[in-house]
């Protein structure tokens, strides 16, 4: 009570903030690291995302559904009554919303946290050795964030210091920079990152950005800048710049032990299959998103990919299926396209035979073996039959073997699915890392840049290296690329290779954009001999049970034995018929006698009145700013082709 006598308010000033820190983050290297690490968290996928088809801009797989990889209607493949209206959901909201009372995780908030650190880090005396790697990582992520915006919207406002809106009178209006100015800023930041980041992190710091990653990313940026979307006049100097950057990246990475992952050997794509399951020290992993594999505590971040891909029958969620279009893109064993190859003829009924080894590491069709920890001999079936005789040919089979439900295309994706994964918790605690940039991409980026400057042979040899690792037959070192002659044929080979090598790795959407392959309005589909996505219906496959050469009709599953006898044939018998010694042979026998392979055409919406087809609007090559963003900054021009705003911005400048 005596303290009252003094009436001093000193005791108030002694109260402490027990949950936060202030400038110490610029002084203490450990706190600085925490600060930088939080940026990784803001940008990388969160717990439970299916990382292989996830994209930050949509926070799910909507971009993959805007390609031939996954079916389903999303905002960028459907018909709009008034396309190009920025109030519609087809105007990409990724750039963010206005500032709100809570701190959202959006583009300019991430940039602000990065800028705040870069503004202050040099003012508090932290040692160079401590602060340089921190700065380098943040320069990389600033470049990353701006590139993500530029490839979607074209030029955006370049905010390079942290602003404060508190009080009156500051000028916070930063105009929209031209696309080229943005690219130069991104390259400048990446150059700083290359200089400041270490060339390689040791295993305890694995999955941080190193100088090779920054260089490789610069290669990706400049390749994009040289691609037809931005480079409408095919300016060779841009290809040259991309070539130089990718060469620098390849050199830098190789000097630090990065190369195509090769453990297990190239035969039958063994190394290619193994590469997903090696974490620290993986020579393929240029940029990698880490995940935890522990089941403990909800603080861990797990990759939902394993769970989403695994069938319901084997304990997964079975929620995404592969399209026939992507299966068709895989070459035959000799590297030639299906139907083109003479050594390995192709038919729909035997679509699974004699394909590129990557085919078997990417897809699971009915009858394919698909091991998991609890059942290493598991075979995945996804066939249908008629429970009652169909009245006409339009009736689809209504009996299915997977009573828990199958994927809509009846073909599962098994890329990066771990044969040793356990279904104990429905695969939900998968720690499989996702390589955002693989060494294979560095090679293919370099290949495409080389082709751009007419170094065709160099380009082809780099593609061949990727095919070699995949286990494709060499045929005298051609790897099926013998017919590739012209520059455009070389470009096409690069794009086709990416479609296969990076299938279901969130890359296809960006390649389609770079080359404007959604339709042939710009002539690129013709140049590269590609089927436009617009107008497409993505398809699956029906595996229909046959009996004596006709559709099997019955309520019971034709291939599952009841009391030792299956109605038609046992799909996985203990002993094989005479002349058959392996399960692979039995599958061939089974397809030949009991399965009819038919295209399945109801995976995209079935609409009685208007037949649904993939619809692309060219506005999507450069998205408009959504109103919630634009209404706080009308001085920014709206992207041309979009409504809203008071002036127009040309993203091609």
């Amino acid at each position: 009570m005596m303290s009252l006598a003094s009436c001093s308010d000193d005791f108030l000033a002694e109260k402490e903030d027990l949950t936060g820190v202030n400038e110490q983050v610029y002084q203490d290297p450990i706190l600085g690291k925490f600060y930088v690490d939080y940026i990784y968290k803001l940008i990388l996928p969160t717990n439970g995302t299916s990382a292989f088809t996830w994209d930050l801009a949509v926070n799910n797989d909507n971009f993959s559904r805007t390609t031939d990889e996954l079916p389903g209607e999303v905002n960028w493949n459907k018909v709009w009554a008034a396309p190009g209206t920025n109030t519609d959901a087809n105007c990409l909201p990724y750039i963010g919303t206005r500032v709100t009372q809570s701190i959202a995780n959006n583009t300019y908030t991430r940039l602000r946290q990065i800028n705040l650190f870069l503004d202050n880090i040099d003012k508090y005396g932290m040692a160079e050795a401590d602060k340089n790697p921190l700065k380098g990582q943040l320069y990389f992520w600033r470049a990353w964030q701006y590139f993500d915006l530029v490839r979607l919207y074209g030029g955006v406002p370049l905010v390079l210091t942290a602003q404060s809106s508190i009080g009156e009178g500051q000028d916070l209006k930063i105009p929209r920079s031209s696309t080229s100015a943005c690219i130069e800023q991104i390259v400048a930041d990446l150059d700083k990152a290359i200089a400041l980041c270490p060339p390689k992190w040791d295993n305890a710091e694995w999955s941080r950005i190193n100088s090779g990653a920054a260089a490789a990313f610069k290669g990706r940026v400049l390749l994009t800048w040289a691609s037809p979307l931005f480079n409408r006049t095919d300016d060779i100097s841009r290809w040259q710049r991309a070539y130089d950057a990718n060469t620098e990246a390849k050199t830098l990475l190789e000097a630090n032990g990065f190369k195509l992952f090769n453990t297990g050997g190239f035969a039958n794509g063994a190394a290619w299959e193994n590469m997903w399951f090696v974490e620290a020290g993986n020579s393929e992993a240029v940029i990698v998103y880490g995940f935890n594999n522990t089941s403990s505590s909800n603080l861990m971040r797990n990759n939902n990919w394993e769970r989403a891909c695994r069938s319901k029958t084997s304990g997964g969620a079975g929620s995404i299926g592969a399209t026939k279009q992507i299966m068709d893109a895989f070459p035959m064993k000799d590297g030639k396209a299906p139907g083109v190859s003479t050594a390995y003829p192709y038919s729909l009924q035997t679509f699974y035979k004699n394909r590129d080894p990557r085919f078997y590491k990417t897809f699971v069709y009915s009858g394919a073996p698909w091991a998991y920890a609890e059942d290493v001999n598991f075979k995945q079936f996804s066939y249908h039959w008629y429970r009652t005789a169909p009245v006409d040919a339009t009736i689809l089979p209504n009996g299915f073997t997977e009573t828990l439900g199958t994927v809509n295309t009846n073909v599962y994706i098994r890329k990066a699915i771990n044969p040793k994964a356990s279904n104990a918790n429905a695969y939900q605690f998968s720690g499989t890392d996702y390589m955002e940039m693989r060494f294979a991409e560095v090679l293919l980026n370099l290949a495409e840049s080389a082709i751009g400057i007419n170094k065709l042979a160099e380009g082809k040899s780099l593609i061949a290296k990727v095919r070699e690792r995949a286990g494709i037959e060499s045929n005298g070192g051609t790897f099926g690329l013998g017919d590739v002659v012209t520059r455009d044929q070389h470009f096409a080979a690069a794009i086709n290779e990416r479609k296969v090598e990076f299938a279901y790795e969130s890359k296809r959407f960006w390649d389609l954009r770079r080359w404007m392959l959604f339709n042939d309005d710009f002539g690129t589909c013709t140049r590269l001999n590609q089927t436009p996505i617009e107008g497409m219906r993505r398809k699956g496959i029906f595996f229909i049970a046959q009996k004596n050469g006709a559709n099997y009709v019955g309520t019971a599953d034709p291939f599952v034995p009841v009391n030792g006898v299956a109605p038609v044939a046992d799909r996985n018998p203990a002993t094989y018929p005479a002349g058959i010694t392996t399960y692979d042979q039995y599958v061939d026998y089974f397809y030949a006698n009991f399965i009819k392979v038919v295209e399945k055409d109801n995976v995209d919406p079935v609409n009685a009145t208007l037949p649904w087809k993939f619809k692309w609007y060219n506005q999507y090559y450069f998205f408009g700013f959504p109103p919630n963003f634009l209404n706080t900054a009308l001085y920014l021009g709206q992207t041309s082709g979009w409504s809203g705003g008071t002036s127009t911005f040309d993203p091609l400048q």
Binding site: D9, L116, G290, A424, N425, T555
Partner: protein, 1077 residues
Amino acid sequence: MKQAFKIIFSAVLFSMICWSSFAQNSNERLTITGKVVDKDGLGVIGLNVIEKGTKNGVLTDIDGNYKIQAPKGAVLQFTYVGMKTSERIVGESTTINVTVDEDASGLEEVVVVGYGSQKKSHLTGAIQTIKASEIEDLPTNNLAVALAGRIVGIDVSGGTARPGKAAAINVRKSVSLSKDGGNTTPLYVIDGVLQVAGDGSNDSTLFDSLDASEVESLTFLKDAAAAIYGSRSANGVVIVTTKRGKKGTTKFSYAGLYGYQDETYRTKMLNAYDYAMYYNIMNGANGNNRLPNNSPQYFFSDDELQYFKTLDYNQIEDEWKPSTNQKHTLNISGGTEKATFFAGGSYYTQTGNLSNIDFAKWTFRSGADFNISDNFKAGIQIAGFLNDRTNTNSRNGGTNEENDYRRLLNAAPYLPQYIQGLGVQRLNTSNESQYHFGEINRLGNISTNKGNNLSVNLNVEYQMPFIKGLSARASYARNVSYNRSTYIGTKFTVYQFETTPGIHGANGHIYDPNAALSSFTKITPRINNNGNRIGWGDSRSQSEQTNLNLVYSRDFGKHSVSGLFSVERGESESTGDDFYKEDPLSTTNGQLFTAAGVLDGSTTGVESGSLAYVGRLNYSYSEKYLAEFLFRSDASTKFAPENYWGKFYSLSAGWVISKEDFFKSSFVDFLKFRYSIGKLGADNTKAWQWRQRFTYRNAEGIVIGNGNPTTGLKMEVTPNRDASWSDELKTNFGIDSKFLNNRLSLTAEMYYNIATRMLMSKTGDVPATVGGSVAAENYGKRDNYGYEFSLGWDDRIGEDFKYGVNVNFGWGNDNQIVGDFNAQESLLPWGVKAGPSDRGVWGHDYVGMLKTQEDIDAYVAKYNIKSVFGVLAANLRPGSLSYADIRGPMNTATGEFAPADGIVDEWDQIKLAKREGTRYSMGTNFKVGYKNITLNAVVTASFGGGWNEVDGQTRKSMKSVINEGIDNRPSIWNNIYDPVLNPNGTMPNPYNEALNLAPTSTFWQRSATSIQMRNINLGYAMPERFTKALGISSCRLNLTAINPFILYNPFDYKSPNGAYDVYPDIKTYSLGINLAF
């Protein structure tokens, strides 16, 4: 507002004039005898019995008997200090026995105000009090619930649903514009101690735990009179005075009650058949357009529909059961000239209506006051509580206390919870579908919350011998609370039953709980995690407050002067820790060694302090002219040190016009006008936002390998060093009046408050490229105003029958004058902009349901429709709702709308209602008594327009694949239109939410009026002759009902308030007894 006031005021005046013409006369004088007793049946000694309007009067004797001569038709007045004056008309009978009531609203009553007490007649602010004895018979676990509808301007919400959940009090519709730092909790002051949480914000913990039996009275400060509590009083103040000992013989009392509890209203849900029809119509040709023949997973077959007609697995019906509550309280008090004491305790317990829900509470309080010498007094008080709450621990599909009720109510009605004793999981693995109430209860997956508290008050008072009327008082209070919450979440096994189409219904949707297990194609055990961990959390908070007061009070002739000066210092802090361990064994007892997995945890802490200088001056002249001045200066650690201090004042005055000589009225007994004006302030912002902060984020860093998660540091809001106190100017004009021998009372209040420099985050017009968020700035400006009436009538007819009614009626409105608006969006008619906060309701102009292709064609032709909420005209189907096309997009440059464009979207909104909220709220308290029997009832109503609609969750469509559906919907969906399946249907096809369900329109509108019976209390006081025989001083019995029924419900499927799928409001019937010795 003023207009309405005039009308009501004149109506009241008119009725007074009518009443005054009742006088009659006669000359025949009779000798009247009788006895006057109090409410306990004891004779009242020395009471004045007067023939009204004459000087003829007598006093009652020692037994309360009297004898008086009076003519027939004369009015006898019975008056006594502290009792209500009663009147009786002399009729044929020569015996008039009277029971007089204590005068709860007596004009000489002294009420507790901030830092002291005052005569009620001297009050100059909007202050209302209630005695706890009025509500102590109600079988509730917290005080606030019992106050519903009783106090004008006080809104009470919640508190009658899930056991142990407290109700919230809101004074005069307080709002907070600051997202994190603000709240609408009033300041609670318990025996002079300001209730603040560790971070310095208003805290209701102790108030929520009080039992009515330990409380003497409650005072509500609604206007500038609260300024004496400074910064914390902007949301109003609730002052609680607990019971103290009284001189006299030792009194001992016991009260007990036992209650029966059940839901007031249960949402009506779809039965199995209607549920199946919902799916078939939603997935049919006019919905998702699946082909029934190809897609058994989307449809129920005909034989299944037939089967479902007799079927209704109703999980909530199976699990819900009536519950009970009981309460016991004991009080002892007494004392001598030298010392008085009070001690009391209470025990309350309530079982839940679902397994594993329980609540119990103990409170205790004891105190003693000592007169050490003539000048020196001291007092000590010790109080505390213990409470214990248990709930089901539900962690599948998110941790939410409501999941148990929600999943049971929403369970699909065609699925049993168990088949042959095996728990059933739907054929999908979504997190929600893994929930199984039966299993997690069987495994004892519960969460508990145990709190305890100890508070101590010490005070000494010294009467200065050398200055008459001056005294000094010092007090110290300390309050420590400790809370522990634990939970157990194990793994549990349920089974997926794969049916065989043809055997279990043609499409395999029949699940017979008695079916042979062998009849299923496959039964897959699923091990689900109900969190799969055990957790412990502790929080500890403590606060202390020291006051040093100087009080002066003296009368100089007709001048009466009093004053107070106080220095108040407070400190509070709270710390918390929680830790948990993964993988508990199924036999876990909640201890950490019964779990095998990782141990993890975290700690938090906050602290704050305050220092204040408080002053008050009161002056009254001849009890006619009253004035009060309040001052307070507060320091807040939420601001930068240079901005700590804020100063608050208020000035109020009153005029008791009825005491003026010129005021002569036979029917007006008392009339006072009063006015108050005060400048208050608030520090409604989070602490430390004057500096750029970064906060630790566990596991929010980079993931490296499979190892431990790393820590991140998050950038917090852009700081504002200049933030300081907001200014809140509050004015209040009030009238207190009593008429017709104090039988009629009217209190009227009109208030106008304006807040400026309100702390709010200014973001609306900040370019989005700035990013982040911002600290609050002194920016906003808002006013609110309204009126409140409290009208009471108390009378008796004849000797034994008394009755009364109190009506509380309030209206309020507010304007956001300067707010966080976006210039561009303010241009929209429905945009957020300066002006009334309630901008009405905007939505779409519903123009009918499209039932046929002709309807569609006509609609498309009429508006030249291209698309409606994203659905192209060609894809419109029968069973859709349709809306008028009004406009095209707004041009951002000009703010003008394009003409109608054939696209129905957000641009086509119209104003559907002028106001979103209802205009009026009313609480009515009825009282009737006959001899020893009393009946009390409270009815609340809200009415006067506004908007009310079918809630959003009811309007969500179910997932189209049957196995993926995890919900059910209310019964309004039992009549969906389909041209083939249900041509007389009235509800739209639920397949397209954006088109048919989401848009706000008159289709979903319901009445905004609701009237609810809050409580009824029937009491019986045992006559004296029985209590004397039993050797006790009094005995009362009472029968009480809380929330017994809904008088008017605008919905035909759910209760008037709240979401349809949360623990419902509970009705309670209880029987209680009060004994005093």
